[in-house]
């Protein structure tokens, strides 16, 4: 067994709300399900290098101060947390409160010799995603750099069409440009992680593998030829544990968590 050089948890779409009772027509409050996932991550049998959150950290917070409230809800996570903006986040407030060490809503960091590029695909007050030319140029510079470090890319929106009308109407509009940019670093790109769709899935094209984490809150389901959105009452909330090994391999384990008992 080639040894693990990095092991981290991928979570997404916590949809935390300043109102503790917020459940948005769902069975559980988003706070209670996030708490269940945090408990599961903290109990993971081996130490995790960090937790990567691919957006919709908050659920349309109306004031910047609300992110201070939401931050306290994830303060109990044992590993360090890295977050990027989703369509239900305010990217300026999110960055200022949750990751003020970065100057831009998109950023890169390095752990154990692995580079992680976190994109910002959010468009203020819109549900679809866009990568502005300036950010794409920033990513292009990462992908064309003379570098042989493993690269993990994270974003909120699904870059490739699911064949499901409603969900595809809120996908990353210029996903093809992203894909072509990533192909420039094909041998370095170990995986691309996303959220947004509230469904656990893997997508592979041209040797690039995209993997979603489920929402920590409620689940959706899609299929090719689908029209409207559909909820899933059965698919489980949870997260992924991503391991990079020294031989260049990646293992992505699905971890399910139990929703809290309904009171």
């Amino acid at each position: 067994m080639s040894h693990a050089i990095l092991t981290f948890a991928h979570i997404s779409d916590t949809h935390l709300h300043e109102n503790p009772q917020f459940k948005g027509k769902r069975a559980w409050t988003s706070r209670s399900t996030t708490a269940a996932v945090i408990e599961s991550i903290n109990a993971y049998p081996v130490p995790l290098d960090f937790v990567l959150h691919t957006g919709d950290f908050g659920n349309d917070p109306l004031r910047k101060e609300h992110y201070l409230t939401l931050q306290k809800l994830v303060a109990g996570l044992t590993p360090p947390l890295h977050v990027l903006p989703g369509n239900h986040d305010h990217r300026v407030w999110l960055r200022e409160i949750i990751y003020p060490q970065h100057a831009m809503p998109y950023y890169a960091f390095e752990v154990n010799g692995v580079q992680i590029a976190c994109l910002d695909t959010s468009v203020p007050y819109q549900h679809h995603g866009i990568i502005e030319p300036e950010q794409l140029a920033w990513l292009d510079a990462i992908c064309t750099a003379e570098n042989d470090k493993p690269l993990v890319v994270a974003l909120h929106h699904h870059p490739l069409a699911l064949g499901a009308d409603a969900m595809d109407s809120i996908r990353l509009v210029d996903g093809e440009s992203l894909h072509q940019t990533l192909l420039k670093a094909r041998s370095r790109v170990k995986c691309v992680l996303f959220g947004h769709i509230h469904e656990r899935m893997m997508m592979a094209r041209d040797g690039i593998v995209y993997a979603s984490a489920p929402s920590t809150w409620y689940q959706s389901r899609t299929w090719h030829g689908q029209g409207e959105f559909a909820k899933s009452e059965v698919n489980q909330l949870g997260y992924n544990v991503v391991t990079l090994t020294a031989d260049g391999g990646v293992t992505i384990r699905a971890v399910s968590a139990n929703a809290p008992a309904i009171r």
Binding site: M1, S2, H3, A4, T7, Y44, P45, V46, L160, A161, L162, G163, R186, K190, C191, E199, R200, M201, M202, M203, A204, R205, D206, G207, I208, V209, A211, R221, T222, W223, H224, G225, Q226, S232, V234, N235, Q236, V241, T243, T245, G248, G249, V250, T251, I252, R253, A254, V255, S256, A257, N258
Partner: protein, 261 residues
């Protein structure tokens, strides 16, 4: 909009008629669980081209009659079924009942212009996997053929170690050789599907996606650096995957859970 070429279901490890293993905590009834998954698949609203079962159809069944009984259960699937042997199967009985058209326990078929290669990694009465020289030559021929048809490969065992004992005592011994063979078809290889580990997970190696389906019976959990014995995951539900290949080269693997209650 890219057109779907094919949508199929990946299930695994039905372990029909298993009795609770004495070394494990009590496990649920594999028949009831398989039937719940079949019912869920049949209720899907989109067309399903076929169902692919990556082995451990039966759980150390005593005779070929039991395989006929198992076939009766799986025949309730409304889509055609393709199976391969797992370590708990008898590959001769399985082949004779489920795919007598093939002379070997490994075979390939084509559906809507997609080639599906089904490997036999089973070793009689052993939990680990192997691929014979003859089978590897057969696979090499597929992977080096001048074809541009999309290719899906299915096998029972995991080719790469999980970094978790004791699951890693049961890998395919020549997993790296198999991977190197598959890389020869990299341009048309859409995904490699397997089972065996009773855990929903994926490997990515050299841009190739290897994806498991969970068992329809019960789930285990592994983690990097795990030692000791198997650990049952009492949270993860059984389920299956929906695999869709589209004309633009995209492969999508959707995870579906099934509540057996």
């Amino acid at each position: 909009m890219p057109q779907p070429l094919l949508t199929f279901i990946h299930i695994s490890d039905t372990h029909l008629y298993a009795n609770p293993h004495p070394s494990l905590p009590p496990t649920p009834n594999p028949l009831a669980r398989a039937e719940a998954v079949i019912k869920h698949i049949n209720a899907q609203v989109f067309p399903i081209d076929f169902v692919l079962h990556t082995g451990d159809v039966g759980d150390d069944l005593p005779d070929i009659e039991k395989y006929r009984e198992a076939q009766g259960v799986l025949k309730k699937l409304s889509a055609p079924l393709h199976v391969i042997p797992g370590n708990h199967d008898n590959r001769d009985w399985l082949r004779e009942v489920f795919y007598p058209h093939s002379n070997t326990p490994y075979y390939s078929f084509e559906h809507k212009g997609v080639e599906v290669a089904c490997l036999d990694t089973s070793v009689p009465n052993q939990p680990h996997g192997e691929i014979s020289e003859r089978q590897l030559a057969w696979l090499m021929k597929i992977c080096t053929a001048p074809s541009d048809k999309p290719l899906v490969v299915a096998l029972h065992h995991h080719l790469f170690p999980l970094g978790s004992l004791p699951m890693d005592t049961m890998t395919v011994k020549t997993g790296v050789t198999v991977h190197q063979t598959l890389l020869k078809a990299r341009a048309r290889l859409r995904c490699v599907l397997f089972g065996h580990v009773h855990e929903r997970l994926s490997f990515i190696r050299d841009g190739v996606l290897y994806a498991t389906a969970p068992s329809t019976w019960f789930q285990l959990k592994t983690w990097p650096g795990q030692t000791g014995s198997f650990v049952i995951d009492d949270v993860a539900l059984p389920g299956y995957n929906i695999v869709t290949l589209t004309s633009d080269g995209l492969t999508t693997v959707r995870a579906v859970s099934v509540n057996p209650a």
